[in-house]
């Protein structure tokens, strides 16, 4: 049976002034697929994800989510179906807002609250925060939380609306080794236990879990390669993509690691 397309981008561009942040992005994602979006710093990953989730707009090109382009009529409705977990994005929007209010805003697809939030929404938000270890922090302000806690708040915000698409934008960035392991475990569980379409954004090969069977490589705002993870994350492709000699290793569980074949060193002149 043919899978339904949930995201379709054609010749999508985003630019500020004369500079392209994203250029000629063509990408189709089917329902239930799990994708890795891999790229180095500044390659446009967060911009692409915030456009996809309806929090930013492309300059030109076509984006269809659930078969329709974003419009004034459907934007907030469709945003509810997409759980965006991106501290790179939400750190710009939230600071003194309380944890509970931020999580509840996920039900609405907005950044603030609405009158018609139900008691069931509040109870479920508290349950989710409890499961993520934040039961005692629901009244705390976002800006006073650690990086890992903020990621968990955003995961709770995303899951509260029971999204059809879940985007995890560098969820392990800035986490310590234990928090990172927990986060990867959570991502793996989400990928295996739900029929949700997932996109996991990262710039670390070690975070590429076997359950993410598709991959896109993004370089300087352009898609360099996309396809099955096994064919994308090969030594030949990665050497060319990173423009550096690297070795790609896979362990018995399918986890990928990358090591530099030759390390560039910078000598500091003694003063």
């Amino acid at each position: 049976m043919e899978q339904k397309t949930v995201i379709e981008m054609k010749q999508l561009n985003c630019k500020i002034g004369k500079q392209y942040l994203l250029k000629e992005i063509n990408w189709t994602i089917a329902d239930g697929e799990h994708w890795i979006l891999f790229g180095l710093n500044g390659s446009g990953k967060t911009t692409l994800m915030s456009i996809l989730a309806g929090y930013q707009q492309q300059t030109s090109g076509e984006l269809k989510v659930f078969g329709e382009a974003y419009s004034a009529e459907n934007l907030i409705r469709n945003r509810r179906k997409i759980g965006l977990v991106s501290s790179s994005y939400f750190d710009r929007c939230y600071r003194d807002e309380s944890v509970l209010e931020i999580v509840l805003s996920g039900v609405l697809g907005t950044l603030g609250l609405d009158f018609d939030l139900t008691d069931a929404d509040v109870k479920r938000a508290k349950q989710l925060l409890g499961r993520l270890g934040l039961a005692e922090k629901i009244n705390q302000s976002y800006g006073t939380m650690s990086k890992g806690e903020r990621e968990c708040v955003l995961i709770a915000r995303a899951l509260l609306a029971e999204p059809e698409i879940l985007i995890l934008d560098e969820p392990c960035s800035g986490l310590d080794v234990l928090a990172r392991d927990n986060m990867l475990h959570t991502a793996e569980q989400l990928a295996e236990s739900r029929e949700t379409t997932m996109i996991y954004v990262t710039h670390y090969m070690e975070e590429i879990l076997p359950c993410f069977e598709h991959a896109v490589l993004l370089r300087q705002g352009r898609i360099y390669q996309k396809g099955w993870s096994q064919t994308v994350f090969t030594e030949a492709v990665m050497c060319d993509f990173l423009q550096s000699a690297v070795q790609v290793h896979r362990d018995e569980k399918g986890r990928i690691t990358l090591s530099m074949a030759e390390r560039k060193s910078f000598e500091l002149e003694a003063r």
């Binding site: 309806g54 930013q56 707009q57 509810r80 600071r95 209010e101 039900v107 950044l111 603030g112 009158f115």
Partner: protein, 148 residues
């Protein structure tokens, strides 16, 4: 999932609320602020408290005054483990506002447009009042277009 509101009417609702309600933390005026970069107004604007520098949905001013009185005069403290400061006091007022708004909503005397019944509030409790003139109301109509 239930749809909470028609996005086409969202701006009108937010404008009315920003004009009528106050910040549940500081009791200050609310305004509309462009938060995200979307070209669609409904999706990028939120109610904002400039004084607290936060996205804030707000409460009816009568609820805020009651909550403030309850915290100041009755000594209510939801956060006994925190240092007692102006910030903690504001958090307490906001907590009481949440409880009162929840109760009033469930009693059916508060809806999206405000109270559905005439209020005869205790004047001692209301204390200081803020008088808004036409110019103030016009100022509150303005949408701040600054982004974060």
């Amino acid at each position: 999932m239930e749809l909470y509101y028609d996005s086409e009417g969202r701006m009108g609702i937010l404008k009315q609320r920003a004009r009528r309600c106050v910040c549940k933390y500081c009791g200050g005026r609310l305004s509309l602020k462009r938060i995200s970069f979307s070209e669609i107004e409904d999706a990028r604007v939120e109610i904002f408290c400039k004084s607290c520098d936060r996205i804030e949905y707000g409460v009816e001013p009568e609820i805020y005054q009651s909550a403030l009185y309850f915290v100041e005069e009755m000594g209510f403290n939801y956060y006994p483990d925190l240092n007692q400061s102006e910030k903690t006091k504001r958090m307490n007022v906001a907590k009481v506002c949440d409880i009162m708004a929840w109760e009033n909503k469930n009693l059916g005397i508060l809806n999206r447009d405000g109270f559905t019944v005439p209020l005869a509030a205790n004047k001692n409790m209301i204390g200081e009042c803020v008088i808004l003139d036409e110019t103030d109301l016009e100022d509150m109509e303005d949408i701040s277009v600054g982004t974060l």
